[in-house]
């Protein structure tokens, strides 16, 4: 600052306009300003520019808060495990977080449970609250092998989530719940005589129905969704 080092109008103006001068320094600088055209000009421009930056401040869109809550609600939380298992879990969680981090959440305008389910499907990550309470439907006749089944919280909607994989390695997620799932944004009704809806979101196909239980199926490949739906109707008995 002034009196302690070389006269530097840019630096002094930056500190002064940022409000970071201590009172004694500020008083000295303000006294100096009255007699220094360079510093006066730089401070004037700095103040003006700062006002413009402040005027450009924006408010986050209302839906963004909900999207973040939905994404966090399905983000994995590490559990306490025995040491050997903990190492495996650490590797898995690093992979999961990598996938999560890479994923771009685009479930805008969706009800929170739907947005949370979409995030889980897109990232192939289930944030378990515990083991699933209902047994997994056996869909092996559809060429789908169970990968995991967990109890999850979809932004307040308790659900059992089952992940299946086909021989090509593609995944499909089945969510079941005692409570009905909310209707997705821009959903269309299923065929006449069948309660439920279908929708497209984030490159995913969603199908929701209420028989033989409240269910929601999500996959990138629509044919996989159809296989699960068909399997639920034709082979409702749990494995």
């Amino acid at each position: 600052m002034i009196g302690r080092r070389t006269h530097d109008p840019e630096r002094d103006a930056a500190i002064y306009v940022s409000g970071e001068m201590r009172p004694p320094e500020r008083r000295r600088f303000e006294a100096h300003l009255l007699g220094c055209d360079d510093c006066w000009r730089e401070v004037s421009l700095g103040r003006e520019g700062r006002g413009m930056v402040e005027a450009s401040r924006e408010i986050a869109p209302p839906g963004l808060r909900d999207d973040i809550r939905a994404a966090i609600s399905v983000a994995p939380v590490p559990r306490r495990l025995p040491r050997r298992l903990a190492l495996v879990a650490a590797v898995v969680s690093v992979l999961a977080f990598s996938i999560f981090g890479a994923a771009q959440v685009r479930s805008r305008n969706q009800p929170l449970p739907i947005a949370a389910a979409l995030t889980a499907a897109r990232t192939e990550t289930l944030a378990a609250r515990g083991p699933s309470e209902l047994p997994a439907p056996n869909l092996s006749s559809q060429g789908l092998q169970l990968v995991m089944g967990e109890r999850v919280d979809l932004a307040g909607l308790t659900s059992d989530a089952f992940m299946y994989r086909n021989t090509a390695g593609e995944t499909v997620l089945l969510f079941t719940s005692a409570a009905p799932f909310p209707v997705a944004h821009a959903a269309t009704p299923l065929a006449a005589g069948v309660n439920g809806w279908t929708a497209q979101s984030d490159g995913m196909t969603l199908v929701c129905g209420d028989r033989p239980m409240n269910y929601l199926v999500i996959a990138r490949d629509p044919s996989l969704v159809g296989l699960v739906q068909h399997g639920l109707i034709t082979e409702p008995t749990p494995s």
């Binding site: 840019e10 630096r11 103006a13 930056a14 500190i15 306009v17 940022s18 970071e20 730089e42 004037s44 421009l45 700095g46 103040r47 003006e48 520019g49 700062r50 006002g51 413009m52 930056v53 402040e54 005027a55 450009s56 401040r57 924006e58 408010i59 986050a60 869109p61 963004l64 808060r65 999207d67 973040i68 809550r69 994404a71 966090i72 609600s73 983000a75 939380v77 590490p78 977080f97 999560f100 981090g101 771009q104 959440v105 685009r106 805008r108």
Partner: protein
């Protein structure tokens, strides 16, 4: 307390701050929203591993900037003209200068911001919008404080020169 709730209650207050930084790191609203969500997910991943900061604002700002640099670097480097759909000026009716600033054409303001060098734009976002100190901004940007001060002042000065006539016209 559930770690998710603890995280959200500690960090959601900084959402506007992170969003404003993201808006100055990537050009489109959509990309900015994605960047904010990625920031929160990455922050949560660190949070549940016990890395809880003393102050969430500089911590989130740093994560946001690092993500933007690693994922959007190429796009962010080149200034582009984009609409400022959600810009909202903060006007104080008792202050004619503020009022004139708030009524500045939002698109012109945004174009002017994007005409600045990235380092200047980020320094302005961190200090003048997010309210970080220049020391915190220096830490977040990984540069000496002197560099931040220089970028700050040059950015402010450039904006004042680019748009000053508009403000004076409205005040008159």
């Amino acid at each position: 307390m559930d770690p998710r709730e603890e995280f959200l209650s500690s960090t959601m207050g900084a959402l506007d701050l992170v969003y404003n930084i993201a808006r100055r790191m990537v050009p489109s609203v959509e990309d900015a929203q994605d960047l904010v969500q990625e920031t929160y997910l990455a922050a949560f991943a660190a949070w549940v591993k016990g890395r809880k900061p003393d102050r969430v604002e500089p911590w989130l700002a740093t994560i946001c900037m690092n993500l933007a640099r690693s994922r959007y670097r190429r796009e962010a480097r080149r200034p582009r003209e984009v609409p400022m759909e959600l810009a909202q000026g903060v006007a104080d009716p008792s202050d004619p200068e503020r009022e004139a600033l708030a009524s500045l054409d939002a698109a012109a303001l945004r174009r002017a911001m994007w005409a600045l060098e990235e380092g200047q734009r980020v320094a302005l976002a961190l200090v003048d919008i997010a309210g970080l100190s220049t020391r915190e901004a220096a830490q977040a940007m990984g540069t000496p404080r002197g560099t931040v001060l220089s970028r700050l002042h040059r950015g402010r000065r450039s904006l004042a020169r680019l748009l000053g006539d508009q403000v004076k016209g409205r005040q008159a």
